[in-house]
Symmetry: C2
Subunit: 79 residues, 2 copies
């Protein structure tokens, strides 16, 4: 019997919300962010909606584009 | 012309090292850790060597197995 697929993780949803928040705080569109990390606006949209099980290398690229530590995109906004 | 593949990210290597460190601190084998998060020992080994571009959901599962926040597996060991 195959293993059940995992449900969407809390970390995926937290990352989704934090990326949206930090992108909007900079006044960037999804396309602006995507261009800065070589991802499509469509991919960025999926990440922000939590429909993409994004990999660590792409998370790192997004964090670098936002000039943040990846860890800080996996913690609630402190403000 | 296709985009170059991304190089292995700093976050991937940091996560790899931190998982190994925290697993060993608990005296667990790779198989022990794998069993606690429904991943194979082989997969855990690849993650710890940085040869797997692991997804956020699997990173979350490993953090839960270690009873840690994922963010703390993406920061250097504070001790």
């Amino acid at each position: 019997m195959p293993t059940e697929p995992r449900p969407v993780s809390p970390s995926r949803l937290l990352f989704a919300a934090r990326v949206r928040e930090e992108r909007q705080a900079r006044g960037w569109t999804q396309e602006d962010l995507g261009e800065r990390c070589d991802l499509s606006w469509n991919y960025v949209g999926q990440v922000e909606r939590g429909t993409r099980n994004i990999s660590v290398d792409n998370m790192d690229a997004i964090a670098q584009a936002l000039e943040m530590r990846l860890a800080d995109l996996l913690l609630p906004n402190p403000y």
